[in-house]
């Protein structure tokens, strides 16, 4: 119930957005069953949203600790490259996945150590990996698109299970797992405490440093998973372009999800809806068929409108305005000014 109340603004936004897209593309909500698979724009969004969505899960945790992880897009490229390299070097599917996830976790560990132990500010610490990580990924692929034909790996990007795209399932499962891990254990509380006030938390005996490192590792793992999905999607690792600028989308999603960049309270569910909102904007723009030079302006405008509407300050002002109006209506007889409104 409280969860529902927390995510209500995001749900409303999503619904409004869906209505808007439907206006431009009437078939938006239609879902058909073709060869036992559900197909339709909505399924595309669920599938395409997997990459941003996975990044968003990790990013939510990082943001909750008052950090930010700019490297996730790059980490996707690294883990995708590792996966493609492994599978083309006759590593088993399980081994490949393990290697790719390990790469993601290692990247997260590096970030976490720079932030928590060396004390470099998160933006800068992750900026370092953001720039050099693509080099590492290209080192693995030698600058080419490393293609593979392993059906098992490709299944993770374009397969279906019970008619639902596998990336959507992965995304959902990962989010659910981490959300449960946070809320069924004390991790959620401890992460929030460290995010609000690290020094007070440390004095209360919270192992802030380890927790911070863990959060970045989680972000790295999520990015690793997203990297696998993106490589599986195109059956190849594109070190240069995989996840390019996706970190910005992920951060946007976290904020649209109502989480504060100043750390503290977080909601993974709300972040996920944020990711869905972003993906709906992207897909909606493609479906609506505007010339591509308008893409960015439309996206910027929509994001701005959403941010403005969701701003807590605005909600507060509305309430005050509403109260003042009510008072005016109740107290004073309708003045000329009030009639004018």
């Amino acid at each position: 119930m409280t969860v529902l109340r927390r995510i209500a603004p995001q749900l409303v936004t999503l619904a409004a957005l869906v209505a808007l897209v439907t206006l431009f593309f009437p078939d938006f909500l239609r879902i058909e069953v073709v060869d036992g698979r559900f197909v339709g724009p909505v399924m595309d969004i669920a599938k395409r949203g997997a990459q941003v969505g996975l990044l968003t899960v990790g990013m939510t945790l990082v943001v909750a600790t008052r950090g930010i992880d700019l490297s996730v897009g790059t980490v996707m490229a690294i883990s995708g490259a590792v996966a493609a390299w492994a599978i083309t070097h006759d590593v088993s599917l399980a081994g490949t996945l393990a290697l790719a996830l390990t790469a993601g976790a290692a990247a997260g560990l590096w970030n976490g150590c720079l932030v928590a132990l060396v004390g470099i500010q998160p933006i800068v610490a992750t900026l370092i990996l953001m720039t050099s990580g693509r080099g590492i990924a290209q080192l693995i692929t030698e600058g080419r698109i490393l293609t593979f034909s392993n059906e098992g790996l490709a299944f993770l990007g374009s397969g279906d299970l019970l008619g639902i795209p596998v990336p959507a399932l992965i995304w959902f499962a990962a989010a659910l797992a981490i959300a449960l891990l946070m809320r069924r254990t004390a991790l959620g509380l401890l992460v929030e405490a460290v995010g609000v006030n690290r020094s007070a938390s440390a004095l209360a005996g919270v192992n802030a440093a380890v927790l911070l490192v863990a959060v970045y590792v989680a972000s790295g793992l999520c990015a690793g998973l997203a990297g696998i999905v993106s490589a599986a999607d195109i059956r190849g690792a594109d070190a240069n372009n995989a996840g390019l600028w996706l970190e910005l989308d992920a951060i946007l999603a976290v904020v649209i999800g109502g989480n504060s960049l100043l750390g503290g309270r977080f909601s993974i569910a709300a972040s996920l809806i944020g990711a869905l909102i972003i993906q709906t904007i992207d897909t909606g723009i493609l479906l609506a068929g505007f010339p591509s030079e308008y893409n960015l302006v439309i996206k910027a405008a929509l994001v701005l409108v959403i941010l403005v509407l969701q701003s807590p300050n605005l909600a507060h002002q509305w309430r005050t305005v509403g109260r003042a109006a009510r008072r005016r209506r109740e107290g004073v007889p309708l003045s000329a000014k009030a009639q004018g409104q």
């Binding site: 595309d44 600058g143 080419r144 240069n240 372009n241 068929g289 030079e293």
Partner: protein, 295 residues
């Protein structure tokens, strides 16, 4: 002899191949190559050229990221008497500022692709979807122009949807998926024109996943001639590609050598072939020939 090479970056397999081939060519000729990767930034390229000048290299190869904005740095090179050869893309500076340009005509490439489609459909109604390159990049603009030029006057062929796929496989696939959704699950699409092969390869996967046969249900024509598209052509999943050779450095070094040996001034534009390849042109063989070039 030292030659500085300012490369755009390593944003695609094609460019990686160009870099590899340039390094190979330099090595074969005993030239010391100073390589600089600008990571898609013109400002880095300008800075790199200035550094080359400061270092006193003998010649400069430049693969310009964009056509405009090179005047002053080229003038500086000219003042320092360092010949500059442009690779694969043109600049709109004064022609006296560089020795020669090696490359293909991007508009022409688009025309070749468009002409193939016009010929192939032979008057039949054909609704085309277009995957553009990165918005604002010169290949995207020119290849679009060329294609439109070729289909102009053929009312049966028309572009119904056009979106950017950023020259990448992933975007090519994603945008193609939305094209398929938007055009009656692909039933209303006759052909796909992609500004590069990578996007085409991504789109082919999207077409397959939508249960259609690329190359059959939807014709696929694209540009570059990277190994993977030959594989697709061999498998009947793509129909045609226009080659852009990554070996721009060979002719460039030749021209430089001639110029330095006896002052032979090369023509201002050394155009490479824009050869069209289809299933008839031994795609398997072409694939084998290219697969180790660093694409």
């Amino acid at each position: 002899q030292t030659v500085g090479f300012s490369q755009i970056g390593s944003e695609s397999g094609w460019r990686a191949a160009e870099t590899t081939l340039t390094k190979q060519q330099a090595e074969e000729r005993g030239i010391t190559l100073k390589f600089s990767d600008a990571q898609q930034k013109q400002e880095n390229q300008i800075a790199a050229i200035r550094s080359f000048i400061a270092q006193g290299v003998d010649a400069i190869l430049l693969a310009p990221v964009v056509a405009t904005g090179w005047d002053s740095v080229l003038k500086e090179a000219k003042d320092a008497e360092i010949p500059v050869v442009l690779l694969d893309r043109q600049v709109d500076s004064d022609k006296s500022l560089y020795l020669t340009a090696v490359g293909s005509d991007l508009v022409h490439e688009g025309e070749v692709a468009g002409q193939w489609l016009v010929d192939h459909v032979a008057g039949k109604e054909c609704r085309v979807v277009e995957l553009q390159g990165t918005t604002g990049s010169s290949p995207a603009i020119d290849r679009k122009t060329g294609f439109e030029k070729a289909i102009a006057g053929h009312d049966n062929v028309k572009i119904v949807r056009s979106q950017t796929g950023d020259f990448t496989r992933a975007q090519g696939k994603e945008v193609m998926e939305s094209f398929l959704q938007a055009e009656g699950r692909g039933q209303n699409i006759c052909a796909l024109y992609a500004h590069n092969d990578d996007m085409a390869v991504g789109a082919i996967q999207a077409i397959k996943e939508a249960g259609l046969k690329p190359g059959d249900d939807i014709l696929v024509v694209s540009i570059d001639g990277v190994p993977d598209i030959f594989k697709a052509i061999a498998a009947g999943e793509a129909n045609a590609t226009v080659e852009l050779t990554p070996n721009m450095a060979g002719p460039a070094f030749d021209a430089l050598k001639a110029y330095m040996d006896d002052g032979t001034v090369p023509p201002k534009f050394i155009q490479t072939d824009s050869k069209l390849y289809t299933k008839a042109d031994d795609p398997e063989g072409e694939y084998e020939r290219r697969k180790n070039l660093g694409y």
